[in-house]
């Protein structure tokens, strides 16, 4: 999971938005700050151009080894398109039948309830810590559609006040968001539901005015404790 905020993204310009929810995958190239080799490789794999090169590699290599096949291969762009399409649509993405088999309707609803429950708890804590009392907070969870790769999950907190924007999240906020997924509800669990619904962007909202005074007090006391 990559939490999208100023301290985790090197190209901060992509965090600007004029409308909510802000979507990233397929629209901008994300350059994480740190994040580890695994995340970098996964983000590279998300780049279509690089991914297309893999199925096209045989079309480059065959002429090098076989003169007989060189002309037919180089003059077969339609085959290249078909191969790329086959890899992208049938290999990298599950078929409709496979998506339906991933998770049944009841389990999908249960997982989405879990996501909503945890997301709202995070949003309440974040609203209290940031002293937000107006507008609506959104926890936006975006996942890559690619099925045979490890899940790529982007999580951001967005608000419409005073204008559409992504919240700048500190260490406490990121730690709280880290609890959205755990061993009982993994990114892969959510991806299975997303494949089933072919919906890869989930938005959970919380009105800032509905955050309890209890939560606000807890945030104030935590801050004072940390400062002392």
């Amino acid at each position: 999971m990559l939490i999208m905020t100023e301290s985790t993204v090197a190209n901060r310009g992509i965090l600007q938005t004029k409308s909510l929810p802000r979507k990233f995958l397929g629209r901008v190239q994300i350059i994480p700050r740190g994040g580890g080799l695994r995340l970098w490789l996964r983000l590279l794999f998300e780049m279509e151009l690089l991914r297309f090169l893999v199925p096209l590699l045989p079309f480059v290599l065959v002429p090098l080894f076989s003169r007989e096949w060189a002309m037919p291969v180089m003059q077969a762009p339609l085959v290249m398109v078909i191969v790329v399409a086959w890899v992208e649509l049938r290999v990298m993405r599950p078929t409709k039948a496979a998506r339906a088999r991933l998770v049944d309707g009841d389990e999908a609803a249960r997982r989405l309830d879990t996501l909503t429950f945890r997301a709202r708890a995070c949003l309440r804590g974040i609203a209290a810590r940031h002293g937000l009392t107006e507008g609506e907070l959104q926890l936006v969870v975006e996942q890559s559609e690619l099925g045979r790769a490890p899940p790529l999950t982007l999580v951001s907190v967005q608000t419409d006040q005073p204008q559409p924007r992504l919240l700048v999240l500190d260490g406490d906020d990121r730690a709280a968001l880290g609890a959205v997924f755990d061993a009982t509800f993994t990114e892969r669990d959510l991806l299975a539901v997303n494949h089933r619904d072919t919906t890869y962007l989930r938005t959970i909202t919380q009105a800032a005015s509905a955050v309890s005074a209890h939560a606000r007090l807890a945030a104030v006391l935590e801050k004072r404790k940390a400062a002392s």
């Binding site: 709202r120 708890a121 309440r124 107006e134 309890s212 005074a213 209890h214 939560a215 606000r216 007090l217 807890a218 104030v220 006391l221 004072r224 404790k225």
Partner: protein, 367 residues
Amino acid sequence: MTVNATTVSAGEALRVLQAAWDAQAAGALTASWMLHGRPGVGKTEVVQTLATRIGAELYDLRLTTIEPQDLRGLPYFDHARAKTVWYRPEDLPDTDAPAILFLDELTAASPALQPTVYGLLQERRVGRHVLPANVLIVAAGNQVEDGAIAYDMGTALSDRLVHMIVQASADDWLTQYALPAGIHPTVAAFIRTRPDLLETTEDSLRRGQMIACTPRSWTRVSKIMAAVPDRALRQVMIAGTVGSAPAAEFALLADEISATVQIDAMLATPRADRAALYPGTLHGLTALVYGLVGAVTEATLPAAIEIIADLRGQGAPAARGLPVGDLATFGFELLISRALEKGWADAFASSAAYADYATARQAAGLP
């Protein structure tokens, strides 16, 4: 003609007007705002609260009592220039200080006054008297179906305004208005238990009764409770304010609360001896919560925290099977909000009673 605008509570209307003021102050939006609503729902209080909050002077013009010339001013003859000159009326703001021009009872204003009001709303001027840029124009009025004196608003006037319909909401009134306004705890407890009696204008009209309950009438009841100690006299006044049936119901609650709620005594009594002082009914406990939150000071906050925390068990009420857990949560919501507003949060950090309550709340998985 129906007002097809959004219906909002008084608290929400206040937030919209605050945003309108902020936008106007930033030079982004200058508009005139119209609050529709039944008599007594709190339209005037909304504007008064906004004026206090933004530090603006309130120019309250009751349009049913003025003539066009009251806004235009008086002419005099300038002999030197051979011209008629108009004196500016003192009812129009004319300084650079923040101000709100409140055109109350706009829908009841005489049609003869409307052209003058059009000028104010659209061009922000009457004759040569121009309103300064830092004046926010807010109008208010009843609708024809509210049983008040009102004319249908023509499209020319309607088009010059941004409309909202203000509706009484018990929850909003209790949390946003009652505490800051110092509403008597008995009135607050009564409205919490009978939220349907906060506003009964429609019901009264249907029954052909002249007196109805409104937020404004309950505010007056609160003042009567504080000002008139004689029970019999008070009862006559309250019946004349909210109607005889709600007044009778209110009197039962008031008697019970006055006999059982002892806020000052509870605050002064050590924790171990307080159990016997808790009221024995939910009405009494509700009034206790409102009274405590209204009366609390920084010095008495630790005791108030203990009293609300102990609602759950130490006092007798829990043993009597009353739903005091909800009331404790509600009481703490009010008390914490007040403490955060006043900067008294430290009292909660050092309170063992609150620590116990917070632990129990966390164990119950409450947000």
